[in-house]
């Protein structure tokens, strides 16, 4: 928790220069949409009958598990690296 500063050049989580364009090899917006929709439908359907799921930890975790965890699982099965690899930060043009 320190005073905000510009993101470090290769810091993980720093905004990359990709904008909204999908890089080759990255899943499309449709896949993203399906992951979000899948997370919402499954969470609501299960939570109606299992209300312990309606919890401020489980709810956010559920979304991250679907949107990040599922693709990570697929990568793991394909023996691809799961942890983010960061290239040097390119300043937006």
């Amino acid at each position: 928790m320190t005073e905000p500063s510009p993101p470090a050049s290769s810091a993980p989580g720093s905004p990359s220069n990709s904008g909204n364009a999908t890089k080759p090899g990255q899943p499309s917006k449709l896949v993203d949409f399906l992951l979000y929709a899948g997370a919402a439908i499954s969470y609501i359907a299960l939570a109606i009958y299992n209300k312990w799921l309606l919890d401020w930890i489980v709810g956010p975790f559920w979304l991250v598990a679907w949107v990040w965890g599922l693709p990570a699982l697929v990568k793991l099965v394909r023996r691809q690296p799961v942890r983010p690899r960061r290239g040097p930060y390119e300043a937006p043009q």
Binding site: E3, G13, S14, P15, L54, W56, P60, W62, R83
Partner: protein, 305 residues
């Protein structure tokens, strides 16, 4: 109390920051500020059962918002104390102001139920309430009755109101906004999380509070009106009846605490909201120089050791 409204207002605050603070307020701080009052008070409101015995507040409404009780956790006074503590600890205005705005949003939204909050604590322990819907957390009914009551009353409308406020500024949920306004305001926290999550995971984390708000609103409403089969006044109902009248629903026993007249509550809440934004705006630049001085002092101390 409000339910999903507290999740939505995190994004509403983020989307409606004063111009000079856009891209400089920590989203995590807004979230923790909005989350702190209920984190401190709510667990004991519902309590829990262990070996056939109930552990929790005997008067949930008194505990949650009253004095004596944890009502202090829902006062601007307490929010300001914690805010000062954050500033004294870290000298970080992104976190200090973010926490203050999030906390204030929670306290001011909660004036809507029949209990309200002690807006002028410690000068007055009277509660300020608009009585828009009935506060329904009881020992017997627990969380289920509370949820059924809230999502059958104007509370649901409050959630929808905040939902549409966020949808009206939908860009706050976009990847572009997150990249350009949210991450730069708190680069260290996002960088730390970025050790494990890629950009997609981090963006999902940012959106997850909104996701939770939408899902809990739909799930509880569906359960209350399509699944539950309550017996009210000896009559079995297919779902809890809707009642969108003021201080509804009629089928819940309305509780209240000593309070001021509801006529002055909305003006006072708006004045206090204006005061919070005015003060935050006024001290914003001064905090920057304070933060630079604090960092300089810290470096001096390190070098002299």
């Amino acid at each position: 109390m409000s339910w999903a409204a507290h999740q939505f207002e995190v994004y509403a605050v983020e989307a409606h920051l004063p111009k000079k603070m856009v891209g400089q307020i920590s989203w995590f701080a807004i979230f923790f500020g909005d989350f702190t009052p209920d984190f401190l008070a709510k667990f004991w409101v519902y309590g829990f059962n262990f070996r056939g015995r109930h552990y929790g507040a005997t008067k949930p409404y008194q505990w949650h918002r009253g004095w004596p009780g944890m009502g202090i956790s829902h006062t601007l006074f307490f929010g300001i104390l914690v805010t000062l503590g954050i500033w004294a600890w870290k000298h970080n205005r992104a976190w200090t102001i973010g926490f203050l705005l999030g906390f204030s949003a929670h306290v001011l939204t909660d004036v809507n139920d029949s209990i309200g909050t002690m807006l002028l604590f410690p000068f007055s322990t009277l509660n300020w309430s608009l009585h828009t819907w009935a506060y329904a957390a009881t020992v017997k009914g627990g969380k289920y009755l509370d949820a059924a009551s809230y999502f059958s009353s104007l509370g649901l409308m409050m959630d929808l109101f905040w939902f549409f406020v966020v949808l009206g500024s939908w860009r706050v949920l976009s990847r572009e906004f997150w990249r350009t306004k949210v991450v730069p305001a708190d680069p260290h926290a996002w960088s730390w999380l970025g050790q494990w999550l890629d950009d997609r995971g981090l963006l999902a984390l940012y959106r997850s509070v909104f996701f939770y708000g939408v899902c809990r609103m739909i799930a509880w409403t569906t359960w209350a009106h399509l699944v539950a089969r309550p017996i009210i006044n000896g009559v079995r109902h297919n779902g809890y009846p809707f009642d969108l009248s003021w201080t509804g629903p009629w089928w819940v026993q309305r509780v209240s605490l000593p309070h001021v007249t509801p006529l002055i509550v909305l003006p006072m809440a708006l004045i206090l909201l204006g005061c919070v934004y005015f003060v935050a705006n006024a001290i914003w630049e001064r905090m920057e120089s304070g933060s630079i001085r604090a960092i300089a002092w810290r470096n001096v101390r390190r070098n002299t050791r």
